[in-house]
Symmetry: D2
């Protein structure tokens, strides 16, 4: 998708169905304002200019993204439109906020009256699973944002895109909102391709979900702040344990298959960790040939110096050290259990050294992702939902909504899944972790 | 201060005092990395390019800010440096996190061993108040980040900058960190001026604090997310009340003297408000001459339609309607009490209309600002503190640390106090509020 | 009602309608157990025996209450029974837990299928208010216990008991559960009288609600623990404020019209208060003729000695000092605002003494009573609801469920409203307050 | 120790050292009150009188306990007394509240100025461990009650009582407060025996700690309410997971080695569990010979009927089904991991039946016991500490403080460890669980 309208098959005028919409005065107000989203507006992809290398480049040649927001003209006729929303993959704080936000916005701002909830992820499109389709209204979604989880249900894994589009056609859906992760967005792209092949006019708009914060073009993915704050509470529990016993070692395993954002932010939030281990930064357990100390030595040393030590490990860290265990229903590799492995190795290393140790291991697992969204994420989910609805009504497709440098933007789905956001071992976040923990940049 | 080094009076090499610093390997690591903060790096002030009007402008001519972070060379000799930190003005979640972050960073990363806490704001510099000066160490600040308030104490109002600098000289301070709001930053600038007049080498680095989020060049000011989430809980309490009685009206007065950020975000977070009133958007209580309904009619109408109505008002809203009450010790105008005024007017309007009403009025006041920082703010305060210490050690002065588009930046203090961040009535935040509440863009 | 069956008009056998009830095996199990509630069991009213005065009294002559729990025989035929529940008066944490508990227990344990929710307190019985009657099922009440307030709505004030009983007859109600306070229980008693006069068989069972904990024969009233814990958070906010400024005084006004339980427990929970003022213990503001210091002197003295002082005042305290303001819709006296009065007098007294002061006044009001029940109260409400259903199904009427010395009991409504539970100025709770605060037993 | 004074070796009069004590006016006030604790007062052990079997028994022959509280005469001279406090065994919410409460009460009410904190449980008495002894003052314990854990540290296991008493003598301790569980109270009793053998006058007063609520003569043990409320949050996390996926099963393992109080109360608090498994009630996994369904069938059936099922299991439940794993340092048996065993068996049973299942298993472990005390427990700990100090100052020894039927009481340590409090399978708590879950009284 290029900014400027390639996805706008046919621009519907703001018809009679919209005359009573509360959005009408808004749009009129914005038309008089210079902040109205113009079709040629851009948000720069990179605003840290290394002036040495980019001197002389005209600004319009810098890469940019289309800003989100309501458009003067919309593509679909709300009085005829049928919309659907589906939530896919693992839970994440804020799913219900997104669902409620989409329903309320379609209903109140655009006057859409037929909104369907697809049950249990992509399974809900496939007749053989027998999941009913829900009718959603502002009344039926009121208050769901105070609950964790998703009222629509979810499931992992893909379904045949041809069958999904069959279902969309059968239901007469014009706009499909997909809330999901990496794999689900690939699925959405396949659905959009089938839609295009069949010459249909069905917008497929993604709202990217990843509790691990590893989606590009999203400053923080929704639910991330809630999740790492909850993870920080778990860190606190082992800190309390470790400091209440002699020779206390606290070990916490947190979510983060490919990226260490939750581990890094939770450790900074609690600010009591001595070691943070993430997938992006390899580490060794044993001292290396040059005598550089490995993790086991460093932990022993920290206990000797300060009486206790706290280790935070992302589930995807140190996967070169532990064997993996196949793949799950979504096709994601099942990771080796680095937490239990570290627990064993730490206990052994203290035993070998003849030193006492009181090790507490905690794996909060699902407890982190099933909580309701906190204040910030509640606002963020609501505004993402607004942006997704505006994009869909304007006829955008094969895109996801993002937030880049404080602006809501449209990101082509292809771009959004082309790479993964990771903790940059040379960036300022990891530097903050090294500063806060005092751990050496290289371990083992 | 211009980016690029004007404030660097004399660059100290990384002397022998630093040999054992954990930062050394970090700096070495970053020297090998392309992400190292180069003295000529810039963060663009505006990255939403209206391509129509800016075509052809070379990028280096766009306005920019110096990025924060550690520098290859530092100005002060840590083994000789004496640093001080002071917290000024009203409470804000995260003050203790900033204090702890500054102390830990100076101590562990730079090896500074003499760090003083000035008691009770600028009063602490003035002998006649009799406040002692505290010695701060990592041990003495451990755990303070789990408490609200500030362990240093605070006070409102200015003190004579000449006396302050006398005190700095007497104590031998080389770096002063000022955590405070608008007025305190003006004070810091006056202190920096006296320092410059006397030809001293004392860095004055500000960490801007405003629970109202009204400081420019800070995406969200520290403590803001914690504060609005707490405010959202208060909204919930009146929502519960209003929905549990027939004809329920809930009225909440929130902080926000000049800007409505807390009111707007809290209302979006709870997502149950019917009307949000902020200082930036005037409103009328009575219907205007053209029959456009005022707030009183709109609230009655909402109660009639939905059974209840929720009004969120920022303390600075509608000040044209209520009389003010002089100025306080910091020289800030004492606002008229818009909450109680609205309460009275709403009760009267229902009574006049012969309609029953159950109005619940809540003013959480201090309860919002005295809570400990949430996870996000804890991380943000810690990283702001790191950035402030890096800036100070690099010899920057008369500046504040900020965060712009996801990057920590240095902002000249003069620029930071030159204007106030407000809710843009034509921007996307206010649009979100109008969409979520359904309130008309213009009331009365 | 006398224990032992006076209210059992006619004992229904456990008929065919109950054959599939999950309670059946329970009852069978209990019939084999010695713990089954026998009709002649008693719970002693007073188990602190002053052996000096009661020697020789046979135990069966001590006053006792009938224990709660399921009975071998029930009075009503569940297949024909229609039950109703109404919530009256001010909000209290746990109302929804009680509603859900009653509905679930009637439905699952006794097989009652017609359960009505009366809207907005006693108003809901009176046709002219136009409130509809709700049908309640386990599905419709699922999850309501996670919300504050009451899904049934509530209102203050009495309605004509003849009209209420007309409504009960019209709806064919056999069992009415009234959740409410002192005044509502008087109303329930009047309803039960009209029922008796008309020779009807309608059980009226009360579940006593008082956020102030002032009901006798209830160790702690439901919602009380949640409420005082929430109040303690408010105390913390002024403690943080008062300790962060020089000469800080924190003043908190808490609920408690006739009893100081919330103030006393909240002060003990936070354990930072210097003075607790309750309705049960008179106090003076000024020093008395004998030089015994009054509150104003004591606060000044505490600020001088420790730098700050915290005062917690129950809304009903010191009513001899402030003028009252008439009566409200429930007929309760509107109290004078002791919080604002103390605030003014404290400020004046510091000003007169020429001493600086930073006074923070917080009145959390509704915020305390609209929160969801905490863990303990959730369990307590559920079990109270079970006890109420068991009592009603066994044909008890004109009674409330209580908890006495760890046992659920049946208390005749007349006894429950005959007196008010208050903080005993000579009891061990008040002693704990005096010990924790260090305030003198007599002030002024 | 018998009620009535057998432990009062020599009654000290309220000497000159006490003249300035705030307690003095209190005691004077109480002397004029009929509520003063008289040496012959009793609290009945059982106040549920089965009138059938106890008719005619004079009340003074019923078993009773000595009430707690301040006495007119105290045994120790506060100006000379040295007191010590030690915390033993696993963490429990409220430990720091007890420590602060004891220190504040000794200092402010009795004027004791030498109070020592023994580090890391009984280890702290044994020189070879090298733990220093802390000096405790109101200033040093201020605010510790807002933290989880224990500032004194703790450890498991016993030490030689002779060595402990050697240490007590060396330090000149007159009063020792032991906060700990079953095993620690046995240790305290051995210490008291050695004290008696040596003819010393050292009071050993226990404050019983058990997160499992299994101590007799304590209505609820301190920290229990906080712990089960925290456990209920964990149940919520699996409920959210199980309801967000098709065929969801949530399994939570909670603390409770010998008693199922935490599992039972947490399940009632969250009120979404389908099965609660506790040590007191055996269960089978497979259907029994008579066709009575076992747990595996029941869970499958519940998933088939309602779409999901929630199982809460206490760690000590079903130990006949899983092999144990030796003993730990305290001599407690290491239990077999019933949670992981159930997880495996449930997965297998669904697989064998060819049914899909999404099972989420959570074991919150330490996260439950390291949180700060909630409001109720904060008050309870404070008052327990007061009662312990009053008892010790009155010369009581070899006893623990308890709370029985709403009264603080003195319980001979021997009696307190003579039996364990368990969930009565025929009592009203378990009945509530059966009613709330709908699980059959007998499984398998």
């Amino acid at each position: 998708m290029q900014p400027g309208g390639a996805s706008q098959w046919q621009i519907a005028t703001l018809g009679t169905a919209r005359l009573d919409s509360p959005l009408k005065p808004l749009i009129e107000a914005r038309e008089r304002s210079e902040n109205y989203v113009d079709e040629s507006d851009l948000v720069l992809v990179d605003d840290v200019l290394s002036t040495a290398c980019e001197r002389g480049v005209p600004v319009e040649q810098l890469p940019g993204l289309e800003p989100g927001g309501p458009r003067r003209k919309i593509f679909f006729d709300p009085s005829k439109l049928r919309a659907a929303i589906v939530t896919c993959g693992g839970l994440c704080p804020g799913l219900n906020n997104v669902v409620r936000g989409v329903v309320d916005e379609l209903w109140w701002q655009y006057g859409v009256r037929r909104i369907h909830g697809i049950r249990n992820g992509y399974e809900g499109f496939i007749a053989s699973y027998g999941h009913e389709v829900l009718d959603l209204t502002p009344a039926s979604v009121r208050g769901i944002d105070e609950q964790g989880g998703t009222v629509l249900g979810t499931s992992r894994g893909q379904q045949d895109p041809e069958e999904v589009v069959d279902c969309l056609e059968r239901l007469g859906i014009g706009v499909l909102f997909v809330v999901g992760g990496d794999g689900s967005m690939r699925g959405a792209l396949r659905i959009a391709s089938v839609v295009a092949e069949r010459g249909l006019k069905i917008s497929v708009v993604g709202i990217p979900k990843t509790i691990d914060n590893d989606i590009p073009f999203i400053d923080h993915s929704f639910g991330f702040q809630t999740a790492f704050a909850r993870a920080a509470e778990t860190i606190r529990s082992v800190v309390v344990e470790a400091r209440s016993t002699p020779h206390g070692v606290g070990l916490v395993k947190l979510m983060g298959r490919h990226s260490g954002f939750i581990a890094a932010y939770a450790a900074l939030a609690r600010n009591d960790a001595d070691f943070v281990l993430v997938p992006e930064v390899p580490f060794g357990l044993d001292d290396d040939a040059d005598g550089r100390p490995g993790l086991l030595s460093l932990v022993q040393q920290r206990v000797a110096e300060r009486g206790n030590a706290i280790v935070v490990v992302a589930e995807g860290a140190g996967q070169d050290l532990v064997p993996g265990e196949g793949v799950d229903a979504s096709g994601n590799a099942v990771l080796g259990d680095v937490g239990r492995y570290l627990r064993r190795r730490l206990l052994d290393s203290f035993a070998e050294a003849g030193r006492p140790v009181n090790l507490r291991y905690v794996d909060p697992s699902y407890a982190i992702r099933s909580v309701p969204a906190n204040g910030y994420d509640a606002v963020f989910c609501l505004r993402l939902a607004h942006a997704a609805v505006h994009a869909a009504m304007a006829g955008r497709t094969a895109m996801v909504v993002g937030r880049w440098h404080g602006r809501f933007v449209h990101v082509p789905t292809e771009l959004a899944i082309s790479r993964r956001n990771v903790v940059d071992p040379h960036g300022d976040l990891w530097l903050s972790v090294l500063e806060a923990t005092g751990q050496p940049p290289r371990i083992g």
